[in-house]
């Protein structure tokens, strides 16, 4: 992997982390607020259904995760398991795709249903 690619991955990891910092803070506050008095589908969906603001928030949240998590896991694979090269690239790209597709499906589920 070239130095340029390594630098770009490092930068993508930090930029996504900055976005996630804001998203996770909002998510934690929402969890603490929503869990108060139990969690029901009605309660979740009444907040998210048809709400374009929450939809955009969660779409960006999912995409930032899909960038951030595979790069973080790549560091773990390289440093702790000594897995690198093509096998790692295929594995981590697959993870990014799975997180994006399942994440966006989840956003669609709570927004449109």
């Amino acid at each position: 992997m070239s130095v340029r690619t390594e630098t770009l991955l490092w930068l993508a990891q930090r930029l996504s982390a900055m976005l996630l910092g804001v998203f996770v803070l909002v998510h934690l506050v929402t969890i603490l607020y929503a869990m108060h008095g139990g969690l029901t589908a009605q309660e979740i969906l009444s907040r998210t259904q048809g709400n374009i603001g929450w939809a955009i928030f969660y779409v960006l949240f999912v995409l930032a995760i899909a960038v951030h998590a595979p790069i973080g896991l790549r560091n773990v694979l390289t440093e702790w398991l000594h897995v690198r090269g093509r096998a790692a690239d295929v594995l981590l790209t697959t993870l990014a795709v799975i997180l994006s597709v399942w994440g966006l499906r989840a956003v669609w589920a709570v927004f449109a249903q």
Partner: protein, 115 residues
């Protein structure tokens, strides 16, 4: 004492371990989280069926663990960004303690919520 043991006595080393382990566990959890929310595609009733299962005390313990992991990864991440991107100031010595206190605070608030 060898260098490796000395390194492990530094709180920064444990901050690194907590950040890494919490990151790995959160990645493993995410597909299940997305799958569960995707259940709403087949109607609110299906999602409620799943949420009903999460009322089990063991599920509550797991939820609490996940919230604490998220809070720990978040506060540890903010600490790293501050250390990497802002010029060094004395107050940054308190970052690790602050991260620990905020994480514990979120854990306590969640406990108060579900109990």
């Amino acid at each position: 004492m060898n260098a490796r043991v000395r390194t492990r006595e530094h709180p920064g080393y444990w901050a690194f371990v907590v950040h890494r382990i919490s990151g790995i566990l959160l990645v493993l959890f995410l597909p299940f989280h997305f799958w569960a929310l995707g259940q709403a595609l087949t109607g609110a009733a299906r999602l409620d069926e799943f949420l009903h299962w999460t009322a089990h005390p063991l599920a509550k313990v797991a939820e609490w663990g996940l919230v604490v992991l998220l809070a720990a990864h978040f506060t540890g991440g903010v600490r790293l960004l501050v250390l990497e991107f802002l010029p060094w100031r004395e107050w940054q010595r308190a970052l690790l303690a602050t991260a620990t206190v905020v994480t514990a605070g979120v854990g306590l608030l969640f406990l108060v919520d579900v109990l």
